[in-house]
Every structure is written in structure tokens, then in C-alpha cells.
């Protein structure tokens, strides 16, 4: 069975708490905004300088001066404020954002994260990812459990250059959910429907406790 992209996003949305300020990365994390639970009021931060990010605009509302960190056109809300990139990352680096949900290429059992470069390939840059994982209070990774080639992405140690060291608190994959005690180790806390612990073990290099 396993979770699809939307189900992973839905599961990630359960990490949102009322009043949270949240930064969502590109890809599956963006979908999390579609699953914010009823009664939970969250404010989305966009690291290019906006707090209170609204949905995509209607066709006649598109404003080239109003984009998110993925360079997509968006809208503002009644609560919105704008600020400079320096002020935006002061907010991030200073620990004022409660939660960052982002994608990854690899995560280690100690919470290391790699998601910005593959040696030998053209490197596009880390953008704001290093700042987010270093500064945001809680970091949740949403990613496929294994690569397209079937290689595990949850590893003893990341093989790719790191985005951050001991920075990940939770990993949500198509197979289940892992909690990480930064620098110590990880445990499997949930399984997607129809997935067994053995299924997970077969696709995981990292050591993990089982707490399902």
C-alpha cells in the first residue's frame, strides 16, 4: 500500500499546531498547506520575505512582485507582512519559526540531512535550506523511503554533502514515520497502512528502534 504524495503531506500536516509559524519547502511539503487540520491556525513563512502566505492567485490576480521562495506567484492574506531577506533569515536563524517541512535526498540516523548537491552533477545551490535546518525549532523531512533506483535514503551516514548536521526531528516517508533524537538515534513510530516492519527494514540502512 504505502502512502502517496498527498497522504504523506496529510500525515505531515498532523505536525502542525494551532498558532504555529511554518516554512514549507518545495515539492511534497508545499502540498501540506492543503491538509491543515480544522481549528488549527498556522501562518506560512516564505523566506524571500513574507509572513502570511496565501494560496495561488486567480488568473487575473497574478502579481510579479508577489512570489514565494519557489518563485511561484502567490497571494497575500489579511495578516500578511513583508520584510527584507535579512529580516526574513533573522526570523529563521533566530528560532522564531516553529516548524520547517522539507524534502531530502538522504537523512542519517543521527539526524543529518543532505538535500542540496550531488558531486559531479551541476549544483544549483542550497538556497535557504541550510539556514532553515539550522534555525527552525523543529525540522520534519518528507521524502520517498528509497531512491528511484531502490537505494535506501535513510542511512547510517549521509553519502552526499550535508545541508545540516543533526538537524532533523522527524522523517515521513511513503512507508511510515520516524522520530529522531538529534545526535542519538531514530525510531519507527508509525507505519503506512499495509506496510510491515520488515518492509521498512528491507529498504532502510539506518539503525532504528521499533516503536509502532
Amino acid at each position: 500500500m504505502a502512502w502517496d504524495r498527498n497522504q504523506m503531506a496529510e500525515r505531515a500536516a498532523k505536525e502542525l499546531e494551532d498558532g504555529f509559524y511554518v516554512n514549507l519547502g518545495i515539492g511534497i511539503p508545499t502540498l501540506v498547506a492543503n491538509y491543515i487540520p480544522d481549528g488549527v491556525d498556522v501562518t506560512l513563512q516564505s523566506e524571500n520575505g513574507m509572513l502570511g502566505m496565501g494560496p495561488f492567485p486567480y488568473d487575473d490576480e497574478v502579481d510579479p512582485d508577489l512570489i514565494n521562495a519557489g518563485k511561484q506567484t502567490i497571494t497575500e492574506l489579511r495578516r500578511t507582512s513583508y520584510f527584507s531577506s535579512a529580516d526574513s533569515f533573522a526570523m529563521i536563524r533566530g528560532g522564531h519559526i516553529d516548524l520547517s517541512i522539507l524534502g531530502a535526498m538522504e537523512v542519517s540516523e543521527k539526524g543529518d540531512l543532505a538535500n542540496w548537491m550531488i558531486p559531479g552533477k551541476m549544483v544549483k545551490g542550497m538556497g535557504g535550506a541550510m539556514d532553515l535546518v539550522a534555525g527552525v525549532k523543529r525540522v520534519v523531512v518528507v521524502m520517498d523511503h528509497a531512491s528511484k533506483a531502490g537505494d535506501p535514503k535513510l542511512l547510517h551516514n549521509c553519502s552526499l554533502p550535508l545541508t545540516g548536521q543533526q538537524v532533523v526531528d522527524m522523517v515521513i516517508t511513503n512507508l511510515g514515520v520516524f522520530e529522531i533524537d538529534r545526535g542519538k538515534g531514530m525510531k519507527l513510530t508509525e507505519l503506512a497502512p499495509g506496510v510491515t516492519v520488515d518492509d521498512v527494514k528491507a529498504q532502510t540502512e539506518a539503525n532504528f528502534e521499533i516503536a509502532v
Partner: protein, 234 residues
């Protein structure tokens, strides 16, 4: 002291020299100094070091300076949108220094604020930390990053007045305010030059002290990724 110049070419007159460092405001194609980038290209200046979060696209923004190979080195956080950039970088024609976006923003602010160095957690334990001074504060490890200044900063604002006071609009603010503070000379282009006294003094993002020259530009304001939603039909 007249700060308003007739056009972008006039505003850069006497400010450019080969090998200079230029800060260029904007995030993606949002809030970039379209007119001043064209004028910088037309000036023929070479061997530029350009500090800018991104590198434009192939035929717009800083991509114009890549086409003509006027850029020797970029200091950026993300350059993924530009194919010509990729070609020049892979062939070794172009140097590239990646900075985490927040570190880049803070380095510009620090440079403008007379702060030659500061400590950050960003990048600790990564390639970015290699060769940098590490220091512990309260049991946590940080790395030192340095302030950045430029020979010239080109920024784009929404409105400006004859004193150089600037106001930015929505997310087009981004790197522009810090870069305005970190240029030995800062030239701004605005969509509208407004009468002195018409900007709310509580809401001026860049005080005029930071702006030496100012032009009114014509702005295409190209959209990089047009994402829309559909209206629900009743």
C-alpha cells in the same frame, strides 16, 4: 546635490571599472534592477564579481551579463534557473561561490552596517564551514562569516523621492534594502519618482543616505513561474 539622473546609462556614468564588485538586488526575477543591468551590459565593463541571490534567466536579468561573459565570478545562493550559467560554470569560465541564502543576506547587511564578521549556526558541519573559524557559544558551535561590500550596488524599488528615500513593494523587497547599504555607491531604479514629502516617513524602507543616484525605469517585471488556481464555478 541632485540624485535623480535621466536614464540608466547616465546613472552609471563614471562608476564602472573592469574587475569591480557589483551587488544586484532581487530574488529570482522579482525586484531586479532591469534597466541598470542592461546599462551595465552596455557599459562593456568586464571581469565583474556579482553578488546576487540568483543569476537571472538566459535572456533576462543577470543572464544578459552572462551572455556577454562580463561576469567572472558569482556569489549566490541558488542559480538553478539559468542554462548559460551552467554551461560557463561547467567549462570553468565562471567562478561560483555559494552562500546559504540567509548568510548571504546577513553578510550584505553586516557589510553595510560596519560589521566585518559575525557568527552563525548555518552551515556548521557542512562544506560551507570548511576553512572558516569555529567558535563555541553556550556549548553550541558556530562559524564566522564576513561582511560583504561592493563597489556598486544596483537596486530596484517601487517608489523613490529626490532625496533617495525608497519604498519597496511586497516580496520585491528581498535583498534590495541590504544591498543598498553595502555599496560604496548605490544606484536605484524605481517605478515612480514621487514628490518629496509624499512617502510616509514611518514607512521608508531605505533612507536616502544609502542612495547616491536614482532613475525612473520601465519595468517588464517578468514572471518566472506563473502559478494560478481556478475560480470555483457556482
Amino acid at each position: 546635490m541632485k540624485k535623480i539622473y535621466p536614464d540608466a546609462r547616465a546613472a552609471l556614468d563614471g562608476l564602472t571599472f573592469d574587475g569591480m564588485t557589483v551587488m544586484s538586488g532581487g530574488f529570482g526575477l522579482c525586484g531586479i534592477a532591469e534597466n541598470l543591468i542592461v546599462a551595465l551590459r552596455d557599459s562593456g565593463v568586464k571581469d565583474l564579481t556579482v553578488i546576487s541571490n540568483n543569476a537571472g534567466v538566459d535572456d533576462f536579468g543577470l543572464g544578459l551579463l552572462l551572455q556577454t561573459r562580463q561576469i567572472k565570478k558569482m556569489i549566490s545562493s541558488y542559480v538553478g534557473e539559468n542554462k548559460e550559467f551552467e554551461r560557463q560554470y561547467l567549462s570553468g569560465e565562471l567562478e561560483l561561490e555559494f552562500n546559504p541564502q540567509g548568510t548571504l543576506a546577513e553578510r550584505c547587511r553586516a557589510g553595510g552596517a560596519g560589521i566585518p564578521g559575525f557568527y552563525t549556526k548555518t552551515g556548521v558541519g557542512t562544506l560551507i564551514a570548511e576553512g572558516k573559524e569555529h567558535k563555541e557559544f553556550d556549548g553550541e558551535t558556530y562559524i564566522m562569516e564576513t561582511g560583504l561590500v561592493a563597489d556598486l550596488s544596483i537596486v530596484k524599488a517601487w517608489k523613490g523621492d529626490e532625496q533617495g528615500n525608497l519604498v519597496f513593494r511586497k516580496t520585491a523587497r528581498n535583498f534590495n534594502p541590504m544591498m543598498a547599504t553595502a555599496g560604496k555607491v548605490t544606484v536605484a531604479e524605481v517605478e515612480e519618482i514621487v514628490p518629496l514629502g509624499s512617502l510616509d516617513p514611518d514607512c521608508i524602507h531605505t533612507p536616502g543616505v544609502y542612495v547616491q543616484r536614482l532613475i525612473k525605469g520601465e519595468h517588464e517585471k517578468r514572471v518566472e513561474q506563473r502559478t494560478v488556481r481556478q475560480r470555483e464555478t457556482a
